[in-house]
């Protein structure tokens, strides 16, 4: 009941804010070309104690958010989330970050019954090791490869599909507990990780109980002017179970490359896995993966992202070519600063398991602390329910960070 009332309030707020936006758009007078003699700002704008205020910058944030969504059958998303984060240095050689999340899922939510108890957010302790290295212990996001959202190399941190996303796939991440070490030597960076219990893609509460063994790996990045090269070696587990209900482990070797050219960032990830499950088959085979992507940001804050991913199994029969997993993602967004809104369009196609998704979304930053988002997506899928596989979802949310 509380949530229903809360959602009504949210809807009302959104309507009020959109009215406010429209009125602002037409009523605010343009600046004239007359010579400006004086600047009149309110409160702290002209204060001289910026340093004092900056030094008081708090090292913690509290975030609150609530989401409501409907699909073709009725209510689909109905949840509230609270998060607390604190990060600071303990001394000159030690830094920490602590995150705690508490989620409340209504029984109408697609992820119900969920894990309703508080969970760790990103939480780690980092300390220096010599002058060139540092080590980080705890729950942390491990980013591999250059091409976001594709699976050639960006697979160390799997996804939790009981989470939801508006435009950013990063909110789906199922962050692993791990130990990482980073060493910086001129233009070269070496990063090694070991996760005592490998994480997998989460589709329902039951998946949280998956027990896997250790996975580990290293990457070496070399950054030259406008270009980055990467070499990757790892022993990993598959993020999804196969037809035998197992998560197969495999060895991986990979290479990445990115380059800036004429305002675009071009990216490539290549990987070879020695033994992975063939989709919709009980067989296994070595696999070669290729992801390519491009990103562009214009002066008018149009942002374009294109990502393509394909895989080729060695020795796969001709008729099973659907299992080559081609994934295509095209994304556009533009920030209208004067209106504080960011509309976006996403199109995603995964061939096996088949998912086609189109999504339009709008984020409205009411002020520096509160934002609203609304999205409409239409999709076709043949896999189990998750936020990107339902037919039509209309979702609104409000987020506050203090």
């Amino acid at each position: 009941m509380y949530l229903e009332k809360n959602n009504l309030i949210k809807f009302a707020n959104i309507k009020i804010n959109f009215c406010f936006l429209l009125i602002s758009f037409f009523v605010i007078l343009p600046i004239t070309n007359a010579e400006i003699q004086e600047f009149d700002f309110d409160e702290e704008t002209d204060s001289d104690d910026i340093t004092k205020k900056a030094n008081k910058t708090k090292n913690w944030t509290l975030s609150l958010s609530s989401y409501y969504g409907e699909n073709d059958d009725g209510i689909y998303i109905k949840r509230a989330m609270a998060g607390f984060k604190i990060s600071d240095k303990i001394n000159q050689n030690v830094f920490f970050k602590l995150g705690l999340n508490a989620n409340y899922f209504n029984e109408d939510d697609f992820s119900y019954p969920p894990k309703n108890q508080p969970e760790w957010g990103e939480s780690w302790l980092q300390h220096k090791v010599g002058t060139k290295c540092s080590a980080k212990w705890g729950k942390q996001n491990i980013s591999w490869g250059e091409v976001d959202t594709t699976g050639a190399l960006n697979i160390i941190t799997p996804n939790d599909y009981t989470n939801i996303f508006t435009t950013d796939f990063a909110t789906l991440k199922n962050i692993p507990w791990s130990i990482t070490a980073d060493c910086y030597m001129g233009k070269t960076q070496i990063k090694t990780f070991i996760s005592p219990k490998a994480q997998v893609n989460i589709y329902s509460k039951e998946d949280y109980n998956t027990k896997l063994s250790t996975e580990y790996g290293s990457k070496i990045l070399y950054q030259d002017t406008a270009t980055t090269y990467g070499l990757y070696l790892a022993k990993l587990y598959e993020n999804d179970k196969n037809l035998q209900n197992e998560y197969l482990d495999f060895n991986l070797i990979g290479f990445s490359y990115s380059q800036n050219k004429q305002g675009w960032v071009y990216k490539t990830d290549i990987s070879y896995r020695d033994n992975v499950s063939i989709i919709n088959s009980t067989k296994t085979a070595p696999r070669l993966d290729l992801s390519i992507g491009a990103e562009h940001l214009t002066a008018n804050l149009h942002q374009f992202t294109i990502s393509l991913w394909a895989a080729k199994y060695q020795g796969l029969e001709q008729e099973n070519t659907k299992a080559q997993q081609p994934l295509s993602i095209i994304q556009w967004q533009k920030e209208y600063q004067e209106l504080s809104i960011t509309p976006s369009v996403l199109w995603l196609y995964l061939r096996e398991p088949e998912i086609t998704l189109g999504k339009i979304a709008l984020i409205y930053n009411y002020n520096d602390y509160i934002s609203y988002d609304i999205s409409y997506s239409k999709s076709h899928s043949d896999i189990k329910p998750n936020p990107i596989s339902q037919n039509t979802i209309t979702m609104i949310g409000v987020n506050a960070v203090f």
Partner: protein, 288 residues
């Protein structure tokens, strides 16, 4: 981050007599570069929608306020390259976001920008500006763009002396700048007019025009103080006449000639918290 430079570091006092527009602007640029060799500051950036009423510029909505910690050095041949680091301290949802800018004087070399998104723990390359058709981008959503934050590349412009005049009772030269043919595709300003303080040799106001010769942005330099022998504008405002928005960059705790090393402006500063805090503490402890 020729950033803070254009923004903060503007020049010293030299008695000047009858000089050509080019000589004056060269002095302005040289002093700008000299005064921004290795600086640290805490800055506050305010952006709002605006309107004017009786020559008074007012915010018509609640300003968006960001606080930043910044480091910058001039490096390379003749100190014409610059490297700068910005770390957002507030608002809370953006705290920890960092940006690293490498800007090169060499026309054949791509500029480099890295954006660190703390929520993802990921560094993203942003833009380069070596190509002719590439456009500058906004700095953290403000009306300052990457182009505004660079020192003037004096050789890229033709200058003409418009007049000796006064601005707010200060004697100034009014100088027109037109980009040379090869530079036109690289700038969003087809023309600019600068009001240069004759005594302090710093700009007090710069008016820019777009490719249709319509008024685009005006920069106002305010709260001018002498710091370490250099006259500096500690508050800079830019009014964008195309979208009726303005941004103000004001800084305190400006520390000049700091022992900032190239290592302090490496991508490691974005991702390695322990390293970053240790390096910043070395600079924070200095008093100007």
């Amino acid at each position: 981050m020729k950033t803070i430079i254009f923004i903060t570091t503007l020049l010293l006092s030299i008695n000047s007599y009858s000089q050509t527009a080019l000589q004056i602007m060269q002095q302005v640029d040289d002093l700008s570069v000299a005064s921004s060799k290795s600086n640290y500051s805490i800055a506050k950036m305010i952006t709002c929608k605006t309107q004017t009423n009786k020559q008074k510029l007012k915010c018509t909505n609640k300003p968006r306020i960001k606080t930043l910690e910044t480091l910058g050095i001039q490096t390379g041949k003749n100190n014409k390259d610059s490297k700068a680091l910005f770390i957002l301290l507030s608002p809370p949802k953006e705290a920890g976001v960092g940006m690293l800018n490498f800007s090169y004087d060499d026309k054949t070399r791509d500029n480099e920008s890295y954006l660190y998104l703390s929520a993802l723990g990921e560094v993203k390359r942003m833009v380069t500006r070596a190509s002719d058709n590439e456009e500058p981008i906004s700095i953290f959503g403000s009306e300052f763009s990457t182009e505004d934050l660079e020192n003037n590349k004096v050789n890229n412009y033709d200058y003409t002396m418009e007049q000796d005049t006064e601005l707010n009772n200060i004697k100034v030269w009014q100088i027109n700048s037109i980009p040379k043919k090869y530079h036109r595709l690289k700038t969003r300003y087809n023309k600019s007019i600068s009001w240069i303080d004759k005594e302090k040799l710093i700009p007090l106001k710069v008016q820019t025009f777009d490719n249709n010769n319509k008024q685009y942005k005006i920069f106002y330099f305010d709260k001018i103080k002498k710091i370490n022998g250099f006259w500096m504008a500690t508050v800079i405002r830019v009014v964008n006449y195309k979208n009726n928005r303005m941004s103000q960059w004001s800084q305190q705790n400006l520390k000049m000639n700091m022992p900032i090393t190239e290592q302090m402006l490496s991508p490691r500063m974005l991702t390695d918290n322990v390293f970053r805090e240790k390096q910043l503490d070395k600079i924070r402890q200095y008093k100007n």
